[in-house]
């Protein structure tokens, strides 16, 4: 599957702290989001963007996806963030407060202008919009379709609960509708969905429970505030050995079925047909990305020869 990129763990790193930036190469997360927004005081916005630029220019042997969270485009810092940081070639921009498709379209246009100026391929810089308000959640479908640069939708619960004038609870019941709506928009567009941060760094059990919930709903990754959270999140998103074994059996069974001229067969007393095969294929792709199986499953094994 071309372009499949594992994004289980997206770690926030404050943009104005050299001691944290310098550790980016050794964090074993899938992506890093270098933060120029909330983690940087207003008086240090200029300093942070120059520090991030110098850090990125110096980080030539890159080993993970690098995203930069800029300040919102309606602040006086957002455009300047792009101008300073894009020449250092991050992989994409995390756009905070992506409340409407128009805001994302505006970023898309700016990125195209910078790409032309920098003479790099159009579409090189990706966009990860943050849906973090009631308005953003309502507009999720339009936002997902607002730019071809968008590779995932991110749900931001901290600002979302603030916009709803509610508290965030440990169980997360108050987030259920918003989480689901963001997911629908992402799945309908065929892109990934990234769940919100879990702020309590000492509560690993809570992190695990919330990540398990997000995975069950359909999220493909989670944002993190501390490197200590990476391991738990990877563990939750890794396919379990019995899931991989079952998925392999499903593929084998459906191939046997096709030889018999049918598209449905029983496996251990359960029906296997196209949707089951599709789910198995997804497990196997993720397993491949985790190094749990040797070969990437091909389209013919999923759909059969025409």
């Amino acid at each position: 599957m071309a372009g499949f990129k594992l994004r289980r763990s997206l770690l926030y790193v404050p943009g104005n702290m050299p001691s944290m930036l310098q550790n980016i190469p050794i964090f074993n997360c899938d992506s890093v989001i270098i933060d120029l927004e909330d983690a940087v005081p207003l008086s240090e916005k200029d300093a942070a963007r120059h520090l991030v630029k110098r850090f990125l220019l110096n980080y030539t042997d890159r080993n993970k996806e690098l995203l930069v969270r800029i300040n919102p485009l309606d602040t006086k810092w957002g455009y300047e963030d792009l101008k300073v940081v894009l020449p250092a070639m991050p992989d994409g921009i995390r756009l905070p407060k992506a409340d409407t498709p128009e805001i994302v379209e505006r970023l898309d246009t700016l990125l195209t202008e910078f790409e032309e100026e920098l003479e790099v391929e159009i579409g090189r810089f990706g966009i990860l919009p943050s849906l973090e308000s009631a308005l953003g959640v309502i507009n999720a479908v339009g936002i997902a379709n607002s730019s071809e640069r968008i590779f995932a939708l991110a749900f931001g619960a901290e600002d979302y609960t603030a916009s709803m004038e509610i508290e965030r609870s440990r169980g997360g019941e108050e987030l259920f509708n918003a989480r689901t709506r963001v997911l629908w928009a992402a799945k309908a567009k065929g892109i990934q969905a990234v769940d919100t941060i879990f702020a309590d760094v000492s509560d690993m059990e809570g992190l695990r429970a919330e990540t398990e919930l997000a995975k069950r709903l359909g999220y493909t990754g989670k944002c993190l505030v501390n490197p200590r959270q990476i391991e738990v999140v990877h563990d939750v998103f890794a396919p379990k050995q019995h899931e991989v074994e079952y998925a392999l059996q499903v593929i084998e069974a459906i191939q046997r079925a096709r030889q018999l001229g049918t598209g449905v067969i029983a496996l251990g007393g359960k029906m296997v047909d196209a949707p089951v095969v599709k789910r198995a294929a997804r497990v196997l792709r993720t397993a491949y990305a985790h190094g749990m199986v040797d070969t990437l499953i091909d389209e013919e094994a999923i759909h059969g020869a025409q």
């Binding site: 050299p18 001691s19 200029d46 300093a47 520090l51 110098r54 220019l57």
Partner: protein, 87 residues
């Protein structure tokens, strides 16, 4: 570029540095560092390189280094220069 006003940039966290700039008739660079013995000359070389790149020929330049790498020295000094020269 000409240093026209006092400015500073950076923090006192480890792996960072503070840069203080002040207008002066001549160029005067002083460096304090936790790793001055081993890296003093390298820090000085980096500072000179950045000052030269930005055409800073005069000013009081004070660096308090907490073990910063080259990219951080460059970034903090650049920020301080921009703050000291903008109108």
């Amino acid at each position: 570029m000409k240093i026209v006003k006092k400015a500073q940039a950076g923090t006192m966290q480890s792996s960072d540095l503070m840069v203080f700039l002040e207008p002066a008739e001549t160029l005067n660079v002083t460096i304090e560092s936790t790793v001055l013995k081993q890296f003093g000359p390298l820090i000085r070389a980096k500072v000179d390189e950045v000052l030269q790149k930005h055409g800073v020929e005069a000013g009081e330049v004070r660096i308090t280094d907490r073990g910063a790498l080259d990219y951080a020295i460059e970034a903090r000094l650049e920020t301080a220069i921009m703050r000291a020269t903008e109108g």
